[in-house]
Amino acid sequence: MPMTPDPNRRSTAGARLAAPLGVALMLLAAPAGARDAAQSVDAETGIESWEAAHHGVYIKLMQITPGQALAFYLARGFDAAPANRFAGACVFMTLLRNDAAPGPVAFDLRDWRLIQGGTERPLTQRDDWLAEWKRTGVPEPARVAFHWAQFPTRHTYERGDWNQGMHSYGGAPGDRFNLKLVWKADERTYRTVLRDLRCAPDDR
């Protein structure tokens, strides 16, 4: 069976980033930056992922193809129409981990921005989707599954804490974009931009 890129364990590239780069970045005085994430492509599936380490925070985004997202939600009680709507909204498995930040890492995805064509826009959030699912009659068990399968909108990670989950970034299949990330640690706000991410192409 073909393997997708492991969304959890650090790849060799991730380890390279998380150790020397992470340490180097922690030594930088300025808590903001714009950096390229390390990109990798699974040779068998073509699924792309990006990972980076900044100031003791590790983040990884791995494409979830529209076909994968559609299948996941059809199997959890969604009808085709809403499942397709979400599946086509540029879904990534998103992982964020506090490896060695200078304090608890607090983030709110409502502060993150997708940058495309010179403009910034906020991301569609879990609660936006849930409101739509309720309005359009998606059954409650399916909504419960959706809620918990998403990356949390807000959280605070102590050292060693982490999560992964789906999140829709809002581009169309195949779109390229930059992603501005914001978090707080030790009473400082950190910002970085992951450049040239790409929504998975449509495989439905």
């Binding site: 073909p2 994968q68 992982l95 060693g160 804490d161 982490w162």
Partner: protein, 178 residues
Amino acid sequence: MPRLHSSGWAFALALLAVSLAAPAADGPQTLTGVNFMAKDFTLNDADGRPHRLAELRGKVVLVNFWATWCPPCRREMPSMQRAYDMLKSKDFAMLAVNVGEDVETIFGFSFATGVELTFPILLDRDSAVTNAWPVRALPTSFLIDRDGRAVFRAVGGRDWDDPKLIGAIRELVGAQDR
């Protein structure tokens, strides 16, 4: 990128499941201190037997919130079983609260792990219990002391048989030996 055909949904699910089944992060094995009274609940296990948290008062309890589709949840389950095997005779209990899934799904997962899970797996079908606890994502786990107070939290998967975590639980049990 290979294109999925109509017959490819099972493949897509399997593909996603493979990625979801992958090992969890190599982050440090940490527990964060918390301090609040654990909210009591009663939930049925997969065999329909009710379990009430308050009835475990006097024991140290690991309460774990999880789902079968959650990769770090899947990954930490075997380590939870190993920890349970090591500690269950020492006034230690474990409750794995499944969020939103049915018995058949859980049985299927248990079979697929190849590990016999002997600690109670409880069904929180509407996630009402999970929503009543300070849980924002899965997995999240809490260690409850003998007095029913949550004293440690872990967000994200852990290797529960890691010596650091086993040591922390033993210390909690031992420190409260009566």
